[in-house]
Subunit: 335 residues, 2 copies
DNA sequence: TTGTACGCGTTATCAA
DNA sequence: TTGATAACGCGTACAA
């Protein structure tokens, strides 16, 4: 864009002039659209090399009506979950020559609408991850941002959707704990406004129905390492024998604090997380959790984005299911 | 960019026509450049609302000669270090109305040159993080990508630079360990091609000079959790009483494996990391490490990028120093 | 196969 | 204060 070397960057016109051809011809050898005489082509090539010419991406964008860029908007880049998604979609996009514009709404739902729309306007499509904005904001975004794909925010609206099945994931860990003889569980929930927290709560309710005698206390905590650590004392004051954490971050924070307090896990208390972030297998004790295919999610998102950009209608929402990863933070309920 | 609702998006011309004014006037009320008659302005406003008009970002980019977007290229988005930088720079940029295009070179140095240049061409400036490309590639990038800022890749070239002082950081932990009576250290290095690894090695050499009798073995390991875990056995076979890991990832992986093996830390072995990622304080035992101001780095990077875009000459390279954070993975050398 | 001419949607210049 | 009109740099019908 900017040229600080004093002399303005060469344009296609400059190349055409030095090569003694028309701009159309230069454009042709550049894009290989039509065939061009070998001799002319070579003159163009040398002119390009001589002038160190590079086509203006901006001008191409305007002329072609597309930017070959997609927008990815997430609530928090610090969350390993979104990092994994971003990572996956970046790789997929790169393979098709697309770049990625990233937006971080800093966990502030009131910024999401603007952020999503602004980012979208500079790109060809939008990948909106786990937005917590109110329904009406979401409706506005859905109305303007097509083609787009929505991740982890179930909606009846006809838009391409991809979501982790947290309800199913909680079912997995609840069954696991019930099988180990636990009857009094504690669910450490994330932000109430989060759709994925609501999903988890449904999973909790399902489990209670499925296992008569199982009781699950609910508590709102947060979604971070610190939140998990801070809640340790309250957890110990409860009569639960097992804890289902909102995600691995909360679980690992809790585990660390319990270790400091000398509480035996899983002897006295079992702890499970959800997500299976890379650190989960390196915690002490190694965390039992639900593995969700995060990179695959990014890849799938890219596939859906391509469909959407190609004008293909949105398929049914895709629910990706996780699998239980039994490690060492869970064990039989204490007698 | 794309409009799937069948009807093409309204342009400034459409607004002008429905409002019965010229496009110039519409542009004026849009950007508030000059004053415009109140009545006309209102007609324009209503026309805009009625047509649901939004100016084309692409067209503005071409006309204004800038995109209000910066490119950030990192070796690996999965690394908490780069995530933190990306996070910081995204926040800073957002405050000034800039967006961020992110590129991930997947730890493949041969992709860096192209990735950096491609990303740069769609943006107003480039933030290049810890590139491992050969010097000649770097020279090529520096020649074309201005305005830009370089992070963690010291070079004599006159470009704005920002770097963690890993040499100093290693000095900090080495002094700490020497003070605890350790004489036989083991340095677990990262990729040899990495400039930050070379910096650390200088720090190691400095420490050996500063502390007569101190010997430090060097070993190349990698930069990941898995790498740290995998090297545990080799570490135990050495006669070192303390380990300096390339970064916190390696340290945490190592710690986890040592715990599995029943090795007492810091009783038998002390372990230190570098970076102070969020997980460092939640490992077992809590990791002694060097805290580097990562978010601040992102913020500083944005400040420097603004300077560069304003045409201000590059200041001297900025070296940011870390501070030792003593936690519980280090203790007196065993007798 | 090549060149001419126009369109992409804005902003900026210059008269009026 | 307003409106023609010319950039911005490229792609592409269409004609030659």
């Amino acid at each position: 864009m900017t040229d600080t070397r004093g002399t303005r960057a060469a344009t296609i016109g400059d190349v055409a002039r030095t090569a003694g051809v028309s701009r159309a011809t230069v454009s042709r050898v550049l894009n290989g659209r039509a065939s061009v005489d070998r001799a002319l082509a070579e003159r163009v090539e040398t002119a390009i090399a001589q002038l160190d010419y590079r086509p203006s991406e901006t001008a191409r964008n305007l002329s072609l009506g597309r930017t070959n860029t997609i927008a990815v908007v997430v609530p928090d880049l610090g969350n390993p979950m979104f990092q994994a998604i971003l990572h996956g979609v970046t790789l997929g996009a790169a393979e098709d020559g697309f770049q990625v514009l990233v937006g971080d709404t800093r966990e502030r739902p009131e910024l999401e609408r603007r952020a999503a729309l602004d980012a979208r306007r500079r790109c060809d499509a939008l990948l909106l991850c786990a937005p917590r904005m109110p329904d009406e904001d979401l409706a506005a975004v859905l109305a303007q941002a097509a083609p787009m794909v929505l991740i982890n925010r179930p909606t009846p609206a006809p838009v391409a959707q991809l979501a982790m099945d947290y309800r199913h994931a909680i079912g997995l860990v609840a069954d696991h704990l019930a099988g180990l003889g636990h009857r009094r569980l504690l669910y450490l929930g994330g932000p109430l406004s989060s759709a994925s927290n609501r999903l988890r709560l449904e999973g909790v309710a399902d489990a209670e129905k499925r296992h008569p005698g199982l009781v699950v206390q609910r508590q709102e905590v947060g979604a971070s390492l610190d939140a998990g650590s801070d809640i340790a004392d309250a957890v110990l004051r409860s009569d639960a024998t097992a804890v289902i954490a909102f995600n691995d971050l909360v679980a690992i924070g809790l585990l660390s604090r319990l270790d400091d307090l000398g509480v035996s896990v899983p002897g006295r208390l079992s702890v499970v997380g959800v997500d299976d972030i890379p650190f989960a297998r390196y915690s002490r004790p190694h965390l039992t959790t639900v593995s969700l295919p995060k990179d695959a999610l990014g890849t799938q998102a890219w596939a859906q984005l391509k469909d959407a950009m190609a004008g293909r209608p949105a398929a049914e929402p895709v629910w990706v299911e996780g699998t239980l990863v039994e490690r060492h933070s869970t064990g039989p309920a204490p007698a």
